[in-house]
């Protein structure tokens, strides 16, 4: 009987580049920036890394295929490098690979790196991409905001809200993340905004305006993972332990079956329930000290609060407006600014979330520190609501 991943692997070092429009940095530079910080944090030599996982989504834009871009950028000692891609859950997927490698006993120390270099497209927003030789011939030529905007119409219809009521709660999501990012020197967007600005902004994809959309950023984040025993031998008395790492991809039901009404993300619900079980959480709303969720768009964050079981069905708008997920609320969310303001270099985002949880658990978050949390959760929703990959990871502070 499998026992899950809980407490089998420790994170001993993490690094994260500054996110943003890094016009003078390539993917290799960004990976080195993140890696340098992680090495210093972990206190291990580069050549002790025995295997690495590279997460990158837009290979055409950011790097190229394979694990080579990581191996070459860091001049690793020819150790195995696996390139992974799982939409916006790519960074978490890279971490999962490294963590599983350590847990299996195959290696002692592994590296997970996520990177994306988006600002070489020549235009705003995410790059255009083909959806496949068949899908391109029938699926709409959607954009990410348009695909996620669908949640808004469906959520409002299901819960009897007007779009205007929904948009007011969505606006608070963005205002909160902008406020949080002011205390994050690595964040892409560090300007305060008001609800009036959000609601008055030009429409990108109804009902999402410009301020309902996250930043499109360059950046890299990485983690060095090992066994709890080796972590101790490195002098890490208190260390961040992986409590759960779950992934739930769609199997087509959302897009193709009537059982889904478009107002929520079933995969998030599945990944969350598995992760809570794996981590041994019985009352996540009271146990989690902070969360980082996939706020690619404000409406995503809103519906995900219910999918994670943190808001009761239909209650997310009220909870959001009441400050439940503000930095001083019951469950601080996006304390670093989230995808919205820290930025969203796709392949790096899962590891960037882990980085914030790690930083907060170790009490290193400075002006944005939220007390002394012992458990944090990260969530990704890759793809689009009707066809996605959800990931939920839970990290905890193991004190000795």
């Amino acid at each position: 009987m499998a026992s899950g991943i809980r407490d089998k692997v420790a994170i001993v070092g993490m690094g994260c580049s500054r996110f943003g429009e890094r016009w003078n940095m390539g993917a290799d530079d960004l990976m080195v920036e993140a890696f340098t910080e992680a090495m210093a944090d972990a206190g291990v030599e580069r050549d002790r890394i025995e295997a690495a996982w590279l997460g990158v989504f837009y290979q055409e834009q950011s790097t190229s295929k394979s694990g080579l871009p990581l191996s070459m950028a860091l001049r690793l000692p020819n150790v195995p490098v696996t390139r992974v891609e799982n939409l916006c859950a790519t960074g978490t997927e890279a971490l999962r690979g490294a963590v599983y490698a350590v847990a299996s006993g195959a290696v002692d120390i592994a590296l997970a790196m996520g990177v994306e270099k988006l600002k070489d497209t020549g235009f705003g927003g995410l790059p255009e991409r083909a959806k496949g030789t068949f899908e391109d011939q029938w699926q709409p030529g959607f954009t990410p905001p348009g695909a996620f905007a669908q949640l808004g119409a469906a959520y409002a219809a299901r819960h009897g809200l007007s779009i205007d009521e929904l948009r007011r709660a969505m606006a608070h999501v963005s205002v909160k993340s902008h406020a949080n990012a002011l205390d994050n020197p690595k964040a892409h967007l560090r300007t305060p905004i008001t609800s009036e600005q959000v609601l008055g902004a030009p429409m990108v994809a109804f009902p999402l305006g410009v301020y309902d959309c996250c930043g499109v950023s360059d950046g890299a984040a990485c983690a060095i993972v090992t066994t709890p025993e080796i972590a101790a031998s490195l002098g890490k008395r208190d260390h961040v332990s992986v409590k759960a790492l779950q992934l739930a991809p769609s199997n087509g039901a959302e897009m193709g079956h009537a059982s889904w009404d478009g107002s929520y993300t079933p995969t998030t619900r599945l990944a969350a329930s598995r992760a809570y079980r794996e981590a041994g959480l019985t009352d996540p709303a009271s146990q989690l000290g902070l969360i980082e969720v996939h706020d690619c768009f404000s409406v995503t964050e809103l519906v995900v609060m219910e999918d994670l079981g943190l808001s009761a069905p239909g209650r997310a708008p009220a909870d959001i407006l009441n400050g439940r997920y503000d930095r001083d609320g019951a469950i601080p969310c996006q304390t670093d600014g989230g995808l919205k303001c820290f930025g969203h270099p796709v392949g790096a985002s899962g590891l960037r979330m882990a980085y914030e949880i790690y930083t907060q658990l170790l009490g290193r978050a400075g002006a944005r520190q939220v007390g002394a949390p012992s458990l944090g959760l990260s969530h990704n929703l890759g793809g689009i609501p009707n066809r996605n990959v959800a990931s939920v990871a839970i990290f905890g502070l193991n004190q000795f």
């Binding site: 927003g125 255009e128 083909a130 391109d136 029938w138 954009t143 119409a153 469906a154 897009m255 079956h257």
Partner: protein, 475 residues
């Protein structure tokens, strides 16, 4: 054996450009601003083929028994790929139907109709459609319109019985469009009126009446696509003492080219009483003349709203620049997103063509769940069986909007790109683009229907690829 027409339908695109909008845009080069009425024009995702499919669908009205499809047009999107074959697949007709593209003249529709009426094929669908590009500022821009018409020709003649036809071939070049050219080159209308319309029609009608032994006063309606100023005096010279000119639709639609005689015939058949005789003239490098007698069963077989219904679905438009852009006459800047490669994997299209051309999904033989696209394993989370799926055509199933957005970021030649998830009655869901909807029109739960449209235009390789889109079911 009695031969005739058993069904007729038309398709006119939704937008009708006010001629005044054209003349106002061109006021700086005109002596006076004016222009009466409006002309129909297709959306960016419509061409002669998509319009033909819509007219053909309506004419078939669910009957699948036709043995052939003929598609007449001078603006077939493909010079070398069977346009009628694609129409037949879009209509989900059996592979055994014969297909024929008719082209080359404004007379292509009436000539094809006459050939079918004089033939022996048990039942054939004739569709005629044109979307003629016009040079901005030209007379043709004012006078032309986009549209399609379709008839089912068979031995039942439920709407009208064929009495006979007469045809002459004459290389009279009133206008032409050489291969590879976008626009027509038209000659002086006075010459065409006096040297062609007048003598050709008089000669053809005389010969036809003699051939069919029909007396001139028996004819009650005349379909003549000539400008009214030409047509009115002309029919007075024919001795048709009881005939009226069928509305040429200049004020509502414009001249739809190959489709136009059939479009006008639809208007006549909406109203004519059993026993009335209708003269249909086709003109273009010669002349076709056909006589049809309205069948006794016509009143039971028709709605009487074929043409008026299509006219009523129009939306007056004053956006001349949109008209130019949708018609390809003006290349607007669509930004870098429009540079996305639209290459079609034709091997994929071939193996998935039932889904793509005919919007055919699958019904799981284990649990009956309808799904699109059909797949090896059932999409129902309670089933997921690797069970065979029986083909099911989704085109005519009632459906409603589940989710939607109006996307101003995505590339489309007609922003915003509207798309969403739709749910079919009785199960089945599809993620699909919407056509012909304006911002603010779509809502969750709204009833939709499906139309065959251009999905993408591959400018790099010169290719229209097609798929079905949802549009609002407007009352």
């Amino acid at each position: 054996m009695t031969r005739g027409i058993s069904s007729i339908a038309v398709y006119v695109p939704r937008r009708r450009l006010s001629r005044r909008a054209i003349s106002e845009a061109l006021a700086w080069r005109l002596q006076s601003v004016g222009g009466r009425g409006e002309r129909a024009y297709g959306n960016w995702d419509e061409d002669a083929l998509t319009m033909a499919v819509e007219a053909g669908r309506a004419a078939l009205g669910g009957r699948e028994a036709v043995a052939g499809v003929t598609f007449a047009s001078t603006t077939h999107p493909f010079l070398d790929r069977s346009n009628s074959g694609l129409v037949a697949e879009a209509l989900a007709l059996p592979a055994q139907v014969t297909t024929q593209d008719a082209a080359g003249s404004q007379r292509a529709g009436t000539s094809a109709l006459m050939a079918l009426l004089e033939g022996t094929a048990p039942s054939t669908l004739l569709v005629a459609a044109d979307r003629r590009a016009t040079q901005p500022g030209s007379v043709q821009e004012l006078n032309y319109g986009d549209g399609a018409a379709a008839v089912v020709v068979d031995g039942q003649a439920e709407l009208a019985e064929y009495l006979g036809g007469y045809s002459e071939n004459i290389d009279f070049v009133d206008h032409y469009r050489q291969a590879g050219e976008r626009h027509d080159y038209a000659l002086e209308d006075r010459w065409v009126r006096t040297e062609a319309w007048g003598p050709f029609v008089r000669r053809a009608v005389a010969a036809l009446l003699a051939k069919t032994s029909v007396a001139a006063p028996a004819i009650t309606r005349v379909v003549l696509t000539a400008p009214r100023a030409t047509a009115e005096p002309l029919i007075r010279t024919l001795g048709l003492t009881n005939a009226t000119l069928v509305d040429g639709l200049h004020d509502r639609v414009g001249d739809t080219g190959v489709a136009h005689p059939l479009l006008m015939l639809a208007g006549a058949l909406d109203e004519a009483m059993p026993g009335e005789v209708i003269l249909v003239i086709g003109f273009g490098q010669g002349i076709d003349a056909l006589l049809l007698r309205v069948s006794d069963s016509a009143p039971q077989r028709r709605t009487g709203r074929v043409l008026s219904g299509a006219l009523a679905r129009g939306l007056t438009d004053h956006a001349y620049v949109r008209f130019l852009s949708h018609g390809g006459a003006l290349a607007l800047d669509w930004g870098m997103r429009a540079e996305r490669d639209m290459r079609t994997a034709h091997s994929v299209h071939y193996r998935k063509r039932a889904a793509l051309n005919g919007f055919v999904g699958g019904r799981c033989t284990a649990c009956d769940t309808v799904q699109f696209p059909a797949a090896p394993a059932c999409v129902n989370p309670e089933c997921r069986a690797f069970a065979p799926q029986t083909p099911i055509r989704l085109v005519d199933l009632p459906a409603t909007v589940k989710t939607y957005t109006e996307d101003w970021l995505a590339f489309t030649p007609s922003p915003p790109l509207v798309y969403g998830n739709v749910a079919f009655e009785g199960g089945g869901n599809a993620f699909i683009e919407f056509a012909d909807v304006d911002p603010g029109e779509v809502s969750v739960g709204a009833a939709v229907m499906f139309v065959f449209r251009i999905k993408d235009i591959d400018h790099a390789r010169g290719f229209h690829r097609y798929f079905w889109k949802a549009t609002l079911r407007r009352s």
